[in-house]
């Protein structure tokens, strides 16, 4: 039990230390900057500048521009009717049933796939980490879903469930077409997501698993702890930061779901995600105003969820793990 209470405490202390040290150094340096230090600073800025400029230019500016566009009526099919309309696009989107259906679908896919992936990913991480035979083989196979192009995997699943062509088509019902019914289509989308991203989740969890001291597991097992007790009382507390990072990354990634839906159903039968309808409004509908409004709303949703994660889990969330030792 001692592990669970000391680990967060020490990491929190370390974080506080890391935050404090640069400040002290900064103060000392301001008094007298040696030639070498000045050079170091300059080099640091110089080396980071290109990366920083690209990242900010391609994200910060467009998102602000997106907000500006979202305040306008701007349809590329009727460019003459462009007009500043304040928040009326937001009213249009937020009172629209399609938006909320897509929102619900996105949340459902995210919730179910992340929960299932956490369980399967933990299992896979343990297998990859502890297996006595064929470790290389298992890791290599698990990396294939991670690396494969999502569209390719999606086509494989689509053909697998296509009546006549596929080996899975008759699994659910003998004569139905699973991809054309809402419930089964959503199930298949979630299955495709889980297949593709469980290995990524497992790899992040494996990083945490590597931090669990073997001696501790041995000691626990000698004290008569069952497998389940060792898992919940020894492994989970040590792995907590890794689990939170994995959950955060996968949740935000799952909210972006697009490729699988595009290929599997193309959003038919109310299976669109928010990314799908934003894309449809923009590229198919050429409605920049509404498309941008959705972009801003999706951005806000993700920001709020990320914020809740960081608040809920405090210093254990990845926002605090940048201070590297």
């Amino acid at each position: 039990m001692s592990i669970s209470s000391t680990t967060p405490a020490t990491s929190a202390a370390a974080d506080a230390e890391e935050r404090a040290i640069p400040k002290q150094r900064g103060r000392r340096r301001r008094v007298e900057l040696s030639e070498g230090k000045k050079q170091e600073r300059k080099l640091g800025w110089l080396l980071c500048a290109p990366a920083a400029i690209v990242m900010v230019a391609v994200t910060a500016y467009p998102i602000l521009y997106s907000f500006w566009l979202s305040l306008q009526r701007y349809d590329l099919k009727f460019p003459d009717e462009r007009e500043f309309v304040w928040f009326s696009n937001y009213v249009t989107v937020l009172t629209n049933g399609y938006w909320w259906t897509a929102f619900g679908v996105t949340m459902l896919i995210t919730l179910v796939s992340v929960v299932v992936e956490l369980v399967l990913g933990m299992g896979l991480a343990i297998i990859m980490h502890r297996t006595l035979v064929g470790r290389g083989l298992v890791r290599t196979s698990a990396l294939i879903p991670y690396g494969i192009v999502t569209v390719v995997a999606a086509f494989s699943w689509r053909y697998a469930w296509t009546p006549g062509t596929g080996y899975l088509a008759n699994l659910v019902s003998p004569e139905g077409a699973p991809l054309t019914e809402r419930a089964s289509a959503l199930g298949i989308i979630i299955l495709a997501e889980i297949w593709k991203t469980t290995p990524f989740m497992a790899l992040l969890l494996m990083a945490g698993l590597a931090l669990v001291p073997d001696d501790l597991l041995k000691a626990a097992s000698m004290d008569g702890a069952t497998w389940w007790q060792r898992f919940t009382k020894v492994m989970l507390p040590v792995m907590k930061p890794a689990i939170l990072v994995a959950l955060l990354f996968r949740t935000l990634d799952a909210l972006r779901v697009f490729d699988n839906i595009y290929v599997l159903t193309n959003g038919a039968n109310e299976t669109s995600s928010v990314s799908m309808i934003a894309y449809n409004n923009l590229i198919k509908g050429l409605n920049l105003g509404i498309g941008s409004t959705m972009s801003v709303l999706i951005f806000l949703t993700v920001a709020i969820i990320a914020f809740i994660f960081v608040k809920l889990f405090g210093t254990a969330a990845p926002g605090s793990d940048e201070g590297r030792r």
Binding site: P62, V152, A207, Y262, S295, T301
Partner: protein, 277 residues
């Protein structure tokens, strides 16, 4: 660990087998489809009863696929090169140098790693339309670099932590400047980490669909994942399943090669970059 007993080995062997089968079935299925003849395409058999290479011959005869393949390779390679160079510079500074604004940069890259990409699609669509970048290689390379940079910076700084930096000190003592020490001593030592990062970044660019389908409109810059979704077969009335499967297999080959040859590196890269609290 206690000495491995036979029964433990069998137990792990069974678990391994489950993972391998689960991971490989969709890949084998699309490969199987690509080798089926049109007559047996819809028989639902997992293993083709009649084998043919016609699907592959067909796609390599079409401009649509060959052009998309060139686009995919070119765009992914250029994006990887630029992202890794910029990422290496930044990661070196983050892991080695002390300068104000360092934490800010790390924070910004973390934010971008979580950024919903679709939020950029509409503004970038309009910006690129107005600046002539729409439907060009640079129009895709730019967002790819942006989203690859956080990945590159994180993975590379994790690798850079493990380098014996005393060598750098020694070089500086011998009169080398910080810049020279970087180029002559550290860069060669860092090469394996840089290479691993390059693989991860390449996979990311190779994989993208959302930007590729939103910011392109013709064969000029369409990448394979997008071209796949537009395949119609040799004629409009032909079922494109075989052609799509063959094209899908072709773009899966580099991934399989990476995974086969660099499994250890990829695992190390993904696990070290993410969690080192």
């Amino acid at each position: 660990m206690a000495a491995a007993t036979t029964s433990a080995k069998v137990k792990w062997g069974v678990l391994d087998a489950v993972v391998v089968v689960f991971a490989l079935i969709p890949v084998l299925w699309i490969a199987s489809l690509s080798f089926k003849t049109p007559a047996t395409l819809t028989d639902g058999n997992f293993i083709p009863r009649e084998w043919t290479f016609d699907n592959y011959k067909l796609i390599f005869q079409t401009d649509q696929f060959v052009r998309a393949l060139i686009n995919s390779i070119g765009i992914a390679l250029i994006s990887t090169l630029i992202a890794v160079v910029l990422g290496t510079m930044a990661a070196y500074a983050i892991s080695r140098l002390d300068f104000p604004g360092k934490q800010l940069l790390v924070g910004v890259s973390l934010l971008i790693a979580m950024f919903p990409q679709v939020s950029l699609v509409s503004p970038l669509f309009n910006i690129e339309r107005n600046t002539g970048l729409f439907d060009t290689w640079p129009g895709l390379i730019l967002p790819y670099i942006t989203f690859a940079l956080p990945l590159a910076i994180y993975t590379l700084s994790a690798f850079f932590k493990q380098i014996p930096w005393d060598l750098e000190k020694a070089a500086k003592m011998d009169g080398a400047t910080q810049g020279e020490a970087f180029r002559r001593v550290i860069a060669p030592l860092a090469a394996p980490g840089v290479f691993t990062t390059a693989i991860l970044v390449f996979i990311f660019c190779w994989n993208d669909f959302l930007f590729a389908i939103s910011l392109t409109s013709t064969e000029r810059s369409r990448t394979v994942p997008v071209a796949l979704s537009f395949f119609t077969g040799a004629s409009q009335f032909e079922d494109p399943t075989g052609a799509i499967s063959a094209a899908a297999v072709v773009i899966t080959i580099p991934i399989i090669l990476f995974v086969l040859f660099f499994q250890k590196r990829i695992v190390a890269g993904l696990t070290s970059g993410a969690v080192k609290g």
